[in-house]
């Protein structure tokens, strides 16, 4: 069966994002996660070459979709932008939140970094607040093992109330189990008992005023508690998206606006300003994350990244940082330049030999000399030169560069050079176009 654009409901909901299903029974799975947790690796490993990219409608944020097949069932994986939170501080976060909330995915997979799980829990908790169809994928387990970090998945899963799966996407480990859990979560009927995020008393009191009326108006289409919280947080982008999703403006409903005003008065009476409320929400999330991880994540070696620190002392210290960096880059350039000579010579010999034969053939066919000159001496020779000169250095330099990236050296370079780049009104990241 070929790809058919299927926009029934889906597309209309998410500001026109078209989910391309290959089969009507395909389930939609959103892939969320912090930046740099290997989310793309998970996405690539699951979907293979079966993917296409575009932009989120109306946003300069890239969107990737791909189809994964697991045990005979099809899943459309939608790669949503990597973010630390869903509080809609940036276009990326807004896109991520809107898709999880209003894109009606059948399940959401949140990819986490096993080496700093607690920080990743912020996003997990915010996702769980929106939907209970969540599977947590703790990626980079191989890295965590090296750093002697132990994670009790059963305990973490109990704490969160959603399945938690460990994975090392680079070596495809754990992805089968991940998809098993995704399919189980999709197959479940009825709500799940998930972790409850308790806010401070004034906020909880205000939510209690608004939640019943929202429950009534939303008919279970969205989480009433979460929407109440967001309304109290004056989240305008959410209101617009919600109106579009529901097809009606809830804020213009007299019952809702009356309760909203009452709840807001309650908040300001207890001395909670808008800014304070935002702070309190984040604090409660961070503290819940701490509790969730407390009895599930263990650092077997007290100073678990001592080796990293020692290396950093050499790679980024005042006296050795810059010289080591220059030396490393010099070695890479040296390998690239000298290493490229031999294959370059070989390539140019081969391509020129082929060019001569092609020329002989053209003349034998009786081609006029101007045509021979243009095609062989012009087009072919230039192309052959460019390929022979450019290809070998690129084929050597980029893998070496990728190696430095994988070793985590590039952020160190950014760290070393930030001050100098700042003087030029840029930042260290631009040193290596990260």
């Amino acid at each position: 069966m070929g790809l058919t654009a299927n926009s029934t409901g889906m597309g209309a909901v998410d500001h026109g994002l078209v989910i391309e299903k290959a089969d009507l029974h395909d389930r939609v799975v959103a892939l969320a996660g912090n930046p740099n947790v290997g989310k793309s690796t998970v996405f690539n490993e699951l979907t293979g070459l079966n993917q296409h990219t575009g932009n989120w409608p109306g946003k300069t944020v890239t969107n990737a979709q791909g189809r994964a097949v697991h045990k005979g069932a099809g899943y459309i994986m939608v790669d949503i932008p990597g973010t630390y939170s869903l509080l809609a501080h940036s276009a990326e976060e807004e896109v991520a939140r809107d898709f999880i909330c209003f894109g009606d995915p059948d399940a959401v997979v949140v990819v986490c970094d096993a080496t700093c799980l607690e920080r990743n829990m912020n996003l997990v908790l915010q996702t769980i607040e929106i939907t209970d169809r969540v599977v947590v994928c703790v990626n980079l387990m191989d890295e965590a093992k090296k750093k002697k970090i132990r994670i009790d998945f059963d305990q973490l899963s109990r704490n969160l109330g959603v399945p938690v799966v460990g994975a090392s996407a680079r070596s495809r480990k754990g992805l089968g189990e991940l998809m098993d859990q995704v399919s189980a979560v999709i197959g479940e009927s009825g709500p799940r008992k998930t972790v409850e995020i308790r806010y401070t008393k004034p906020i909880e009191d205000a939510i209690a005023v608004l939640e019943p009326v929202m429950e009534e108006k939303l008919h279970g289409r969205l989480s009433a508690r979460w929407i109440s919280l967001k309304l109290l947080d004056y989240d305008e982008t959410l209101c617009t998206a919600m109106t579009e999703y529901l097809g009606e403006d809830l804020l213009s409903d007299p019952q809702v606006s009356e309760k909203l005003v009452e709840a807001q008065r309650k908040l300001s009476n207890s001395g909670v300003s808008q800014e304070k409320m935002k702070d309190d929400i984040v604090s409660c999330l961070v503290m819940t994350a701490e509790n969730v991880c407390g009895d599930a994540v263990f650092f077997d070696r007290g100073n678990y990244n001592a080796r990293d620190r020692k290396l950093d002392k050499i790679l980024t210290s005042k006296w050795t940082g810059i010289p080591v960096m220059l030396l490393l880059l010099a070695v890479i350039f040296w390998i690239t330049i000298t290493g490229a000579n031999y294959p370059s010579q070989l390539l140019s010999d081969g391509l020129f030999w082929l060019g001569d034969r092609l020329g002989d053939f053209m003349l034998w066919c009786g081609a006029p000399s101007w045509l021979y000159g243009a095609v062989i001496m012009g087009v072919y020779r230039v192309l052959a030169w460019v390929v022979a000169v450019m290809l070998p250095p690129m084929a050597i330099f980029f893998p070496l560069f990728t190696l430095l990236e994988d070793l985590g050296y590039l952020p160190r370079v950014a760290f070393n050079l930030d001050k100098y780049f700042k003087k030029a009104s840029a930042c260290g990241k631009q040193a290596l176009t990260m």
């Binding site: 994350a289 950093d312 210290s317």
Partner: protein, 78 residues
Amino acid sequence: MNEHLLTLSGITEGQTARVSGLLSTGSMRRRLQDIGLIEGTDITCLQKSPAGDPVAYLIRGAVIALRSEDSSQIVVQC
């Protein structure tokens, strides 16, 4: 600004301090909160970059570099 206020930029390498408040506003404030920098969070100063700025800190298990203009907006207690 109050001169008695100790901020993160005044912490030396190897020292650990506890956050008691954020002076930064807007997107920087939210960014710091997103990485778990809230009241009561412990921060260890790991090391300075070769130029002395930015400085690397250990925050909730993650190493994060902050420029002095940002770390001077984080009020801490030793």
